[in-house]
């Protein structure tokens, strides 16, 4: 009977779009042994692996069987998500190619400059905005707004809840800031093409896609990093004469440092300042084609001299291979296994990240060649996960609070970016983290008097149906009252 069910589930795998389809062995989840009662196990799994239980979820999970349900969440391609897919298809701009956003941005800037020059010459004449330009400006704002709004929508309506959590986890781990210059032009594709297809695959694939993403290349300045003078390049580099007020162009270390400190090894992971420079050298030439807003490797600015990174020698006169080899080294480093695993444990188990669990599942990360799904399986089926100590032990971030409140009340955001404004007011603007370390994930980072005022007021707003941008479901008065409670702040 079990085989029949598994077989039936497998047949559906091909008809579910949106995830990278590499054949995965069937995830098996062994029978859970835990000090928690069965009801609490279900409650806990829903709290941690989804954005909060909807009315009726506990019964649904119990009838599927908790272990089977977890296995399905670990294999999102096997979960029917047609409802969410059809809702998400209603957003107008989600599929807009970056090249169009880049072109629209150029149009808007040219028009604005012309207008300002015009008002300089004729200050008495009020500038008239051309409709074409107004459309372009509106579409640009909408593109970023919808990238954020659809993220909340999916968190609320998708059946692939663990997958949506992992998309959010990686967008935070590889955080970019929409407020820095043109980064916002690259964010829709960052979500759609870089992170979403790889959120539960191999870490090395994800790392590589992020390293080549215009969003990250721009945000952390690698796009403008070029070989220092005196270095050999593969193709002669005619260094542009320094214009008045231009800094000398050369190596930019920003991405190289954050790549190791924040994305892979961790600050104590065993790299030195010399390694930062060598990694930066290896990544010269990884830049953005300005016309298309796409990744391009420019041999003319790539430092092709020999390098040594974390003890490994990178031979001279190579091109994009230098950067690829660096990413290979970093992805396979034991510090990376521990650093990534620890972050997963903090997110899914507890702020104090039991070290035995981290070690065990870091071992799984390494043994599986950096397989995110396998590592997750290790973490979320562990005894530490299903422990009394972990139960209701995490505090919700603003995003989690809002998503869980909407789910608890059968509410749904509307299609406008208004729905995400409350999350901004609660202190966690989507794609709005200024620093590359991403949003913190511990109770003490989010709990303070000011935050509580806003959280309580949000709960009251939603309970009384006064939240802009949200279609409130039927709010059970008991549930409504609980939205502002201390208990509801926890997951």
């Amino acid at each position: 009977m079990q085989r029949l069910i598994v077989g039936w589930i497998l047949v559906c795998a091909a008809c579910v779009p949106g995830t990278r389809s590499s054949p995965n062995p069937t995830i098996r989840v062994a029978s859970i042994k835990s000090e928690l009662t069965r009801d609490r196990q279900v409650d806990h799994a829903l709290s941690r692996l989804t954005y909060g239980a909807r009315p009726g979820d506990a019964q649904r999970v119990s009838s599927i069987g908790l272990e089977r349900w977890i296995a399905l969440q670990l294999s999102p391609e096997r979960v029917n998500d047609r409802v969410a897919d059809s809702i998400v298809s209603l957003y107008r701009t989600l599929g807009t190619p970056t090249s169009e956003l880049v072109a629209a941005n150029r149009e808007v800037r040219t028009a604005r400059r012309a207008q300002q020059m015009d008002s300089l010459r004729r200050p008495e004449v009020r500038p008239i905005a051309e409709p074409g330009v107004m459309d372009a400006r509106r579409d640009l704002q909408l593109a970023l707004g919808e990238a954020a709004a659809s993220k909340l929508m999916r968190a609320v309506v998708s059946e692939r809840q663990l997958y949506e959590q992992m998309v959010d986890f990686w967008e935070n781990h590889f955080s970019v800031f929409s407020g820095k210059g043109n980064t916002r032009l690259f964010i829709p594709a960052y979500d759609r093409e870089v992170i979403r297809p790889r959120a539960m695959g191999k870490f090395r694939d994800l790392l590589g896609a992020v390293a080549k993403s215009p969003a990250m290349l721009f945000y952390l300045d690698n796009a403008q990093s070029v070989a220092d003078s005196g270095r050999r390049t593969l193709v002669p580099f005619r260094r542009p004469a320094r214009g008045p007020g231009q800094a000398a162009r050369g190596l930019n270390e920003n991405y190289a440092r954050e790549l190791m400190e924040l994305h892979t090894l961790g600050v104590d992971g065993g790299y030195t300042q010399d390694d930062v420079i060598e990694v930066a050298r290896a990544l010269t030439g990884w830049t953005i084609d300005p016309q298309q807003g796409a990744f391009i490797f420019r041999p003319a600015v790539h430092d092709a001299d020999e390098k040594t990174v974390l003890g490994s020698r990178l031979s001279a006169l190579r091109g994009i291979e230098d950067g690829e080899q660096v990413l290979d080294i970093l992805a396979a480093h034991p510090s990376t296994a521990r650093y990534i695993t620890r972050k997963l444990v903090v997110r899914f188990v507890s702020d104090s990240a039991p070290s035995a669990l981290v070690e065990r599942c870091a071992g799984e990360f390494t043994a599986s060649g950096g397989d995110i799904r396998q590592t997750l399986h290790c973490v979320v089926t562990s005894p530490e996960f299903f422990s009394q100590a972990a139960y209701r032990g995490k505090v919700k971030t603003p995003f989690e609070l809002v998503a869980s409140a909407l789910r608890a009340t059968n509410s749904r955001p509307d299609l406008t970016p208004r729905s995400t404004q409350v999350i901004t007011r609660l202190g966690q603007p989507i794609f709005g983290r200024q620093t590359p370390d991403g949003w913190p994930d511990r109770a003490e980072d989010w709990m303070n008097a000011g935050a509580m005022v806003n959280r309580v007021n949000f709960g009251l707003q939603l309970a009384t149906g006064r939240m802009p941008g949200v279609k409130v479901g039927v709010v059970d008065p008991v549930v409504g009252a609980s939205l502002s409670s201390p208990e509801f702040q926890r997951r």
Partner: protein
């Protein structure tokens, strides 16, 4: 009380939370004068977008200034028109829109500092603001803001740490650091707690009668965990603010704040100071300074921004009255602008700029810093005002002499400032 505090300690609450918890408890008992309740206050005001220093504090004694800005220079004071620079010391003058600040100069409490800024050569707004708020120019690895490091450093100074005998940590105000902004600004980011609010009025339960009482009772059941502790803090904080009675607040001494968001934010800073809730650090920012095109000279875009800026600050100083002896207002902007005007009647990103230090104990009535001159060979990269004072020297001196912090190396690591003589 002592038992209560010790019990909390054994539950492993962080020291910061514990100090605030005790404050909240004592506030509940009506003990108003705690911690820094009537102590020194620093108000930081960030002009985002790189304010054009040469048209703010005008070097009207420089010939080069008028050569380089044929249509946007502010006329010399000798012309004595409404559009002329307001003379300060025969060489420098204020932009006429800054007229509300002139009385502060005359009273000797306004100290402009010129040719001050960041040693970083970046001309990126984002990076330069980042550096000025993190307090570590050219270093992108810094996670916290310098004001947060100040809060941490002061909290562990010798006179503040719990003494060997008493294990009760010193009480600390919930409102020790307040940013009037939607989010906690970079300058206050870090482990020490601060409050970010849009307005004092917003800092309350927004609903009628029963819901509000309900909330209070939900969070009144002890402070045993971090959620209840924060909730308890919230209830106490709202009570403290209610006592400050925002709806009835009347500025004193005839102070009239402009209706702008900036003006209203300064009004609320004054209100918080006067409510004695223990405010020590206040922050607000104001944008609109990135005048690349058509900035105007004595009138126009920049003049309009300066008018609101000056009117708001003057209202704040007037409203605070005597309290100004405990207050320093420190303005800042991420860099200055090009010495020459560009082809669009504006200016582009530059290097050094100017700032104002205002306060009862400030050595005002003098333009501080060393003026490098505006001849081409004196300019930075032959285009911008050159830097002669690192911003950290100014900030560090204010923090040390006004607020009494001794661990400056923790606030601005790796930096040794020069003495300026502002306080």
């Amino acid at each position: 009380m002592k038992n209560g505090a010790l019990a909390l300690v054994t539950m492993g609450l962080s020291p910061t939370l514990l100090r605030r918890t005790i404050f909240a408890q004592e506030l509940a008992r009506g003990a108003a004068s705690l911690g820094n309740a009537r102590g020194k206050v620093l108000i930081c005001l960030f002009q985002r977008g790189a304010a054009d220093a040469l048209n703010v504090v005008v070097p009207h004694g420089e010939q080069a200034y008028y050569r380089m800005r044929p249509t946007i220079a502010v006329p010399r004071p000798t012309l004595a028109t409404a559009n002329s620079a307001i003379d300060l010391d025969g060489f420098f003058g204020l932009h006429p829109a800054l007229a509300p600040l002139k009385p502060l100069w005359t009273q000797g409490i306004l100290a402009p500092v010129h040719a001050v800024g960041s040693p970083s050569s970046t001309r990126s707004h984002f990076d330069a603001q980042d550096y000025m708020e993190s307090g570590t120019p050219d270093s992108k690895g810094t996670k916290d803001g310098w004001l947060n490091r100040y809060l941490a450093a002061k909290g562990t100074c010798a006179e503040c740490a719990p003494s060997a005998e008493s294990r009760e940590p010193r009480a600390e105000s919930l409102f020790r650091a307040v940013a009037f902004a939607q989010q906690t600004p970079r300058i206050l980011m870090g482990p020490e707690a601060s409050v970010a609010m849009n307005s004092i009025e917003e800092f309350g339960i927004r609903s009628n009668g029963p819901a509000a009482a309900n909330i209070e009772s939900m969070y009144a059941t002890g402070r045993a965990d971090v959620v209840h502790a924060a909730g308890g803090d919230m209830v106490e904080a709202m009570k403290a603010l209610k006592a400050a009675n925002p709806a009835q607040y009347q500025p004193r001494n005839g102070a009239e704040y402009p209706r702008s968001q900036f003006g209203q934010r300064l009004r609320q800073i004054a209100q918080l100071i006067k409510s004695d809730v223990g405010l020590e650090i206040a922050f607000a920012d104001v944008g609109g300074w990135d005048t690349h095109i058509n900035q105007g000279g004595a009138t126009g875009q920049l003049a309009n921004r300066l008018g609101d800026f000056a009117t708001a600050i003057q209202a704040l100083v007037t409203d605070l009255g005597d309290r100004m002896s405990d207050v320093v207002i420190l303005t800042m902007s991420e860099f200055g602008r090009t010495a020459r005007q560009n082809g669009s009647g504006g200016t582009d990103h530059g290097h050094a700029g100017c700032l104002f230090v205002i306060g009862g104990s400030v050595k005002g009535g003098k333009v501080h810093g060393r003026w490098p001159g505006l001849e081409t060979e004196q300019l930075n990269e032959r285009r911008d005002l050159a830097l002669t004072t690192d911003f950290r020297s100014v900030f560090g001196e204010v923090v040390r002499k006004h607020l009494g912090a001794s661990a400056l190396d923790r606030v601005f690591p790796g930096f040794v400032g020069q003495e300026i003589g502002l306080l």
